[in-house]
Assembly symmetry: C2
DNA sequence: TACATGAAGGAAATCGATTTCTAAATTAGA
DNA sequence: TCTAATTTAGAAATCGATTTCCTTCATGTA
């Protein structure tokens, strides 16, 4: 007798019929366009709520050609910096009534290409991307612009692709970190870097070198080590140096994980941190706060970067309709915690 | 002279024209349907690649009524457990050629409702959700099923809503954690819990109590403290107990952040961990590995849970078309690290 | 009074892929 | 050889919201 089963989705036609007007007017009312009276608008809005109408994005996208959705692709969502960046982007999107789709590349080139594909198919209006470590070619980024989707690269970028760009000032940040070590009286400062091919790591190395040169410090060639971003590699490399003829009295590492490795190495070798050895890492991972001693690091203000990045879309692109590409740089801050402060002693509870 | 500007998107009609067949055949070819010959299929696929055709999901969604996309809503993406869960879901989606949209509620009810709204509008086929701490009502979850979207609740669930459910065995996990403390010779075990209204915390408390009762331990009423999941609150509560007449000799906390607070409190009070005080937390956050001493915790196998959860959709719902609701439980594991092992001593480098 | 102006609403085309139904062509079977 | 069965391909309707014209009607102005 009763045959409920599959009621169809409520559409603007249903609202139109219920209110007694044309579907086109309903659409205009819901979009708050000027060519429909306030009276009709309130009527439509009320009926929409009553019928529990849900806007069908697929239909609107198809017609409009835009989705009021932006996509972001990051290597990993559970890395402090990217989590912060996403938080910033999210906030801006929310304010501007846009949706956000988050994709992870997991540092894999293949997944990154897949993610780009997905976002293009989803018809997003803008893609924010930070490249995976594996990424060497950029055809997939060109795809994005070919499809008339706005492209904003952040942090891990490739300058060969024309796009809006927003980065951290890695050179300057590294310089400040090393400067800080020097100010604390360290002079034999070793460097644990990343891949030479990624600009972020290259710049951190340059910052390190310029601080070293400026202070006129003498650094043995073996103090400069690439490809040591992980805890284990860093631990091994640090131990090697501790056993060498001229061991360093401080480490600047391009990742906090490496800094942790150095800390473990120091502990197992019997060095006191910060008295015998200074350590400063990079990125301000959550755990830097809970080690003993706490780890100094460089704060990248990811949330801020995320906001600025999405602002490029909402302001520069959408509102001002500028044709030129934005190119922004965010300054970082040194978080001097226990592991690098032997003059200006800090304790765990009062750090930062 | 040259007028590139805005070439239109390549559609199946373009392919159809180029190959010399009907658009409907192109669609069938691209979807690998049986009613079109192999010859045509290869022809179409080649031409599609050549023209750089991109499937328009909005159009397909609109027509099909489904999007081959699933949505997941979590309180936070940068919490170890949820990051793992997402990784698991992602893998399964990838294997099944579905897209994944990730949303964060940031533990806010309002944002959670917003996220649900977004996903309904995006026409996702299935929503996986873990509720925010603020969530008390569930009308928004009913919305999901009203729109004929499959609903799977995981971890932080509300049993009042009919849906597929997959949870961790929190009771059992807590029981095992406390049991472990008892086995290590602790007997005055305090409990730092969460909100009584969230099942996960309620269950952890029950597990704690059952282990205590089973061992016939005498626990003063003030050892059982709710709403202490954060580092600072835990630190304060722990200190209070240390100063009391009958201080505990161990803590079981429902979060690793709380465990960290206890550790800090112990340090500032001058207690040695694990000798004077045993500590075990919950969730196996990344930082538990790097504190001194390392923190024992409960591993929840989030990735596994994520896989099982999405399997419910791909297997139980899609393939088997079962009408009943799945109800799964995942077992957790105690990670006994330094902070709780005074009999079976562990060192930082050999843990786990 | 006659005309211009503008506001408010509607009809119909459109976005691009899918799907149903039909027709043609091929193969098999008797 | 002729009919039935089976492939293969195409025509056309469809999904739901948006948008571009129009039309109508009210208001203001000369």
């Amino acid at each position: 007798m009763n045959r409920p089963i599959k009621e169809k989705r409520v559409t603007i036609h249903d609202i139109a019929k219920a209110v007694g007007i044309a579907p086109s007017s309903v659409s205009k009312a819901l979009n708050d366009l000027p060519s429909v009276s306030e009276k009709v608008k309130t009527l439509v809005r009320a009926k929409a709520r009553e019928l529990n109408y849900k806007h069908n994005l697929s239909a609107a996208n198809l017609r409009r050609g835009s989705s009021r959705t932006i996509g972001v692709i990051v290597p990993r969502v559970n890395v402090a910096f990217f989590a912060d960046t996403i938080a910033g982007i999210e906030e801006t999107c929310f304010e501007n009534n846009h949706r956000l789709i988050i994709c992870q590349s997991n540092e894999s080139f293949e997944k990154e290409v897949q993610a780009v594909e997905t976002l293009i198919q989803q018809n997003v209006d803008c893609i924010l991307i930070s490249l995976s470590q594996e990424t060497q070619t950029v055809d997939h980024l060109r795809e994005i612009t070919n499809h008339h989707i706005h492209l904003i690269q952040f942090d891990r970028i490739n300058p060969d692709v024309e796009s809006h760009i927003i980065v951290n000032d890695n050179r300057q940040a590294a310089y400040k970190a090393v400067r800080h070590l020097i100010d604390e009286g360290y002079s034999r400062i070793a460097f644990l870097g990343g891949s030479e091919y990624l600009p972020i790591y290259k710049h951190r190395k340059e910052g390190y070198l310029s601080a070293i040169r400026e202070a006129d410090l003498d650094i043995p060639y073996n103090y400069i080590i690439n490809n040591a971003v992980k805890t284990e590699t860093a631990l091994a490399k640090a131990l090697e140096l501790f056993y060498s003829k001229h061991p360093p009295d401080a480490f600047f590492t391009v990742s906090d994980f490496a800094a942790l490795g150095v800390l473990k190495a120091a502990r197992s070798f019997g060095l006191r941190v910060p008295d015998d050895l200074g350590i400063i890492g990079f990125s301000n991972e959550a755990f830097t706060d809970v080690t003993t001693p706490t780890l100094s690091s460089v704060i990248q203000w990811g949330k801020n970067l995320g906001k600025e990045a999405s602002d490029i879309y909402f302001n520069t692109i959408l509102k001002e309709k500028k044709q030129t590409f934005a190119h922004l740089t965010i300054e970082s801050t040194v978080a001097a915690r226990e592991s690098s402060c032997r003059k200006t002693k800090k304790t765990a509870l009062e750090t930062d």
